[in-house]
Every structure is written in C-alpha cells, then in structure tokens.
C-alpha cells in the first residue's frame, strides 16, 4: 500500500479538488459521506426530497451493519456494495443534487462515464468485502435518515470518514480505469477462445 502514493480528498469536495484527480490514482477520502443504496437511488431519481444537502457531497454505495449501543449507533461492518445497480439512476442524481463523488465497487459503463464528465464527478472504487478495514475509517455516525421507511441497511447514514482508501475508477473527464481493464481482458478472451484444447475423458 505504501508504494502507491495517495492523494488526499477532503470534504467539501470542491470542483477544483475533484477535477485534479485522474483515473487510476489512489486516494484517501476524509469528511462526511452519505450512504445510498437501491431504495434511496430510486427515491431520489423519482424526485424524492433528499434529507441532506448533497451539493459537493459524496454518495457511498454501502449498506452497513449497524448496532445501537449505549444510545449510540455503532458501525460493525461497512464495505462498498456493487455500484452498477445504481447506474440507471446516477446521471439524474448527480445533475440534480450536485453530487461530486460516488464511492462504490465494480464496473460502471458509459452512462456513468458521461455523467461524471458532465457533472464534474468522480467514481471511486473501494475494496469490496473489506468491511472491517473500511469500518475502521468511519470515525463517527453523525445521523441517519429514512431508517423507518427503508430499513437500516437501505437507510441514508451520515458517516464521517478519515483516510478511507479507494482508487479513482472514473475521473471528471470520463476516463475509466475499468474500461481500460475491460478492453484488455476482451482482447485476451478472443485469443483464448482461439486456443481450443481437446479434453479426452
């Protein structure tokens, strides 16, 4: 990890800060982020009023394991969920709410590349399944919205992060690390398809 040089990204995520990032770079995110999953995306997409101001903010695709202890919320596990499911909703949400950072995991297509370019937004890729390492980067649970309506997993949690590690997967120019990887794997796949083997039982 030490070999990849990190760039710091601190809330509020200004256009200047975010615009300086390039696909493939390693970042450490600090400050407030809002968790957002399937139900919240659908809700915002359909014109629902956001309980928090998302301008220059970050959405984190995550459904944390949260328990109530001594009157406080405690995050027990909090890694990213697959972002692709939210792709149909994202362009409108980025545009309408001025979201500048989306944190999640997994491939995203042309729709997100274009939305990032148009809205000056970046898509950051976190390590899927690393729920403990990433829960440690949550220094405070500031609030929770829509918990009753959507359930605790799908609620909008307001989390304060410190040095949350991620890779810039899509930058504000719409350039995508994921597309680069995919183009390479498609080329390799064609070669492997052309190299049959006779498996004799």
């Amino acid at each position: 990890m030490a070999v990849l040089t990190p760039r710091r990204l601190n809330y509020p995520f200004t256009p200047e800060q975010v615009g300086g990032l390039r696909a493939g770079q390693f970042v450490l995110v600090s400050g407030v982020v809002y968790t957002a999953r399937d139900r919240l995306h659908k809700f915002l997409f359909e014109g629902g009023k956001s309980p928090a101001d998302l301008k220059n903010g970050a959405l984190y695709h995550c459904g944390p394991v949260v328990v109530r202890k001594d009157g406080h919320w405690q995050v027990r596990a909090a890694g990213p969920t697959t972002s692709l499911r939210e792709e149909p909703y994202l362009p409108r949400i980025i545009k309408d709410h001025g979201v500048r950072v989306v944190i999640g995991k997994g491939s995203m297509g042309k729709v997100t590349e274009e939305a990032c370019a148009a809205g000056g937004c970046v898509y950051l890729h976190a390590v899927g399944g690393a729920a403990q390492v990433l829960a440690d980067k949550v220094v405070a649970v500031q609030n929770v919205f829509l918990g009753k309506e959507f359930g605790l997993t799908e609620a909008m949690w307001v989390l304060e992060l410190k040095d949350f590690p991620a890779i810039v997967a899509i930058d504000t120019h719409g350039r995508s690390l994921l597309r680069r990887v995919q183009n390479g794997s498609q080329r390799a796949l064609r070669k492997l398809m052309d190299a049959p083997e006779r498996f004799v039982p």
Partner: protein, 295 residues
Amino acid sequence: MKQHAQWETSLFELIRRTSVDLPPDVEQGLRRALAAEKRGSRGRWVLETILENVQKARENDAPLCQDTGSLVFHFHVPAGFDTNALSAVARVAVARATRLGYLRQNTIDSVSGEAYETNVAHGAPQFYFEQCARSTVDVRLIMKGGGSENVGRQYSLPDGRLQAGRDLDGVRRCVLDAIAEARGNGCAPGILGVCIGGDRASGYEHSKAQFLRRLDDKSEVKVLARLEDRILRDSRLLEIGPMGLGGSATLMGVKIGALSRLPASFFVTVSYMCWALRRRGALISVNGGLKRWLY
C-alpha cells in the same frame, strides 16, 4: 429434540465463526494471489487490504463483509434424526446472530419490499438434509453475498455466439465468457463453482455445492481436474485482477462437477463466489455438543 439449548449454542457458534473467520484454505489462497501481484500495483494493494480485513474481522469478532449473504446449511444426519426440529433450532440461532450483529438484516420480502428483522423468512435460511451412516451430525454452512450471486450464469449448449459445442472445450468457452462478463463485480479474486449437465435447478445447486470443496483440492475425475487447471490459467491471462482493477489474480480456484443430463439438454452452470468464501463446518453429536470443526 432434546438438548435444544445445546444445539442452539453449537449452531450459533457455527454462524458466528463463519461470518467473522475465513477458513484457512481460503486465506492461504489469498496469500498465493498476493504473491502473484507486482509490488506497488493496484492488485497488490487490494489483496493487502483484503488480508488485513481478514485479520481484523477475526480480532474484532465482527463480520468479514457487511453483506452476510444468504445462509445455506448442509446437514448430514443419522437415520431417524428429527430434521424439522433441527431446522427450527437453526432458525433460532440465525435470529440471535442477527440481533447480535454477526449477520446483517439481510432478508427482504420480495412482494412488499419490507426488511425482515431476523433473517428468518420463507426460503431463508436454506437447508439441505441428507442421511448418513454415522452416529453424529455433519453440518456445513456457506454464506454467499448478493454481489457474487448476481454474476452467476447458465449456458445451454450448443451456443452459437461462443462457438461452444457439446464437449469440454465448449464448457471452457462458456466459463471463460462468464469470467469475462463477471469482471471484478463478484469481488475478485473469487472461486468458480461449475456444473456440467443437470437441469436448470439442479445445475445451480450442484455448481454451488462445489464451494464445499477445499480450495486446494482437485476434481477426482482426471479430465475435469485438467479442465479446472486450464481455466484457472486462462483466467490469469484475462488480467481482470483483484476487484477488476487489473492484475493476474482473477480467480483463486475453479471447481467443476458434473451431473447426468437429458439427451436434449446440455447446461453449463457457473456460480461465482467472492474472495470471502465463508464456509465452515462441524461434527456435532446428536445431543448438540460440538465435537470438532471441519475445514
């Protein structure tokens, strides 16, 4: 069933351990994957983070991944053992594990959209029972998250698009297509469970049963072992890498099984398991006492 409390304690412990502590063979697989990635690469960073996470989950006694998945119990029970009572007590253990945060509230009513508080619902958890000749109960639990479940695929051969005929190279072509389509989305480097044959339902079931196999084993059928090796080698060349961010550790393992089929059908079913292959097992005496851990 007598000794209800003892059974509940043992099954709860099985769930806790499965959620927080990766089996040694899988952790070893991750270390092997790490060794394959270049210093300073994104792939290496991903795997270092994953291994740190495995360690932390164990220390913190908390879920490895927040998607604690669907719970699938495989029981082998002695003749005459009351399986209804066993599934009832397993449900109680699941509910307690959820309350204590070892499992996320992870079960949704598909019609109303409401979340169940306990992960006990129609179809959750899942149980498979088989009779065995022993006098103890063999139970194995797999927890499989939704991200990996979503990238599973089923093919019907011949497949014109893939030029996949009804032979083992046709199977290879299907599996490579599934790997390329999954990209990093199932949380690479994962493990593939493949079933050749069967029907649409049994194909998926048997493909998932492959995850009960140890990561370092090989198919006992020689030609399938060769196919497993070839696909694993091919997957490295796809350069999808950890989390799909590039690198050679695209998969940790390929496990292939086969079922008989109808003359008209030739299915190839591919299930993807994320790197967090949460699989544990135990031998439990009929009165519920934990005798020893498997894996």
